[in-house]
Symmetry: C2
Subunit: 193 residues, 2 copies
DNA sequence: GTTTTTAACCTAAGGGATGTAGGTTGGTGG
DNA sequence: CCACCAACCTACATCCCTTAGGTTAAAAAC
């Protein structure tokens, strides 16, 4: 009986693929085990429990997103970087729907402090820095941008928007313009206020 | 054996309570049945399956949110209405965390077309109308506002923001100001563009 | 009030998932 | 080659979901 050579990393990426194919909710220890042709109990040599498996998928997805975002904003600033950043997010959600959904989970401490999470965070800060904001405002602006983009993608996927494709693209565009305007007019408050 | 007098509505609101107490993921047909002192199989006289149960919780939550938002924007416009709208959302997420989480599900067609969903949508449109936007822009602005607020609440809950309470409140405030600015500067495009 | 009907409940059953404990064995190192 | 170890398996207990058919409380009909 040759061994399947499971590793946590292989589990996470395979689970992400399964999520893309069948939906994030369908990712179970059993489904992943079937994918590798082993018994479900075998996975517990590599991950503590299902929660840890899904956490790992989340970190995997963060890594992929960070890669795309990094490319999307490379060499750009201001409005162009914003468009690159936003497109990277949107395309990831479209091309990796199941993996993207993993990002919506409540993050474990391990994930929240992971290099992958910190990379995405740093890239968002870099984006808003390109608008020349006061440094004390970076974190607020970054959260705003991240929230708006992710919120839009989340709500469009969840069916909260009654939409046609063209109209949705217009709403996306209008949102990017709104974000751009608000970033360009961000007040120069310093840390004293 | 007296009957428990189950109805779909009672199931949905009880499930929402359980979600608040134990987390949305813990809401199962079995848990709800235990709450009412009946066997799990009995629930299927009232809901088609677990999915339908969770859908109902979502509509229940939409109803509650709509009620709060309605009060939050009553008699207000512009920035004041925005603050009322945002506060209603934030307080709902804080006071009904489990029910709020039900809102993040992918909506069924029944839910997306429900009176509750349409009310929340109409209230959001009323909010942006108060900024004097061109009518063709209502839907885009409404989506932007809804996405930003929900995205922020979602990410703060999910641990995506490394935060302290004071800083988080400042980010929230900064976001409201950013939203206000972007709405006040929304371009007056008409439908031809 | 009594009887009949109906749908709300129950039991039984089958299938699936999760995770622990202990056993077996493939692969590595000496 | 042998010893060791961790990766795998089996067995098991517990829990969940849902269907089919049976029982019965409550509503409707007389």
């Amino acid at each position: 009986m040759a061994r399947a050579n499971l590793t946590p990393e292989r589990l996470f990426s395979a689970a992400a693929e399964l999520a893309d194919l069948h939906g994030f909710d369908s990712v179970t220890a059993s489904a992943v085990a079937r994918h590798f042709g082993v018994q479900p109990a075998s996975l517990y040599s590599h991950v503590r429990d299902r929660e840890a498996l899904l956490d790992g998928v989340q970190r995997f997805a963060l890594g992929e997103l960070g890669e795309r975002v990094s490319h999307g904003i490379a060499g750009r600033s201001g409005s162009e970087a914003l468009h690159g950043f936003a497109s990277a997010n949107r395309e990831y959600a479209q091309e990796r729907p199941g993996a993207w959904q993993a990002l919506q989970r409540t993050a474990s401490t391990e994930t929240a402090t992971s290099p992958q999470a910190q990379r995405v965070s740093a890239l968002t800060i870099a984006l808003v820095r390109g608008y020349g904001l006061h440094e004390s405002q970076y974190v607020h602006a970054a959260r705003f941008v991240g929230a708006a983009l992710n919120g839009f993608l989340s709500q469009s996927r969840a069916g909260a928007f009654d939409h046609q494709e063209t109209e949705l693209a217009q709403s996306w565009q209008a949102m990017l313009e709104a974000l751009d305007r608000s970033l360009r007019s961000w007040p120069a408050k310093d840390a004293e206020q």
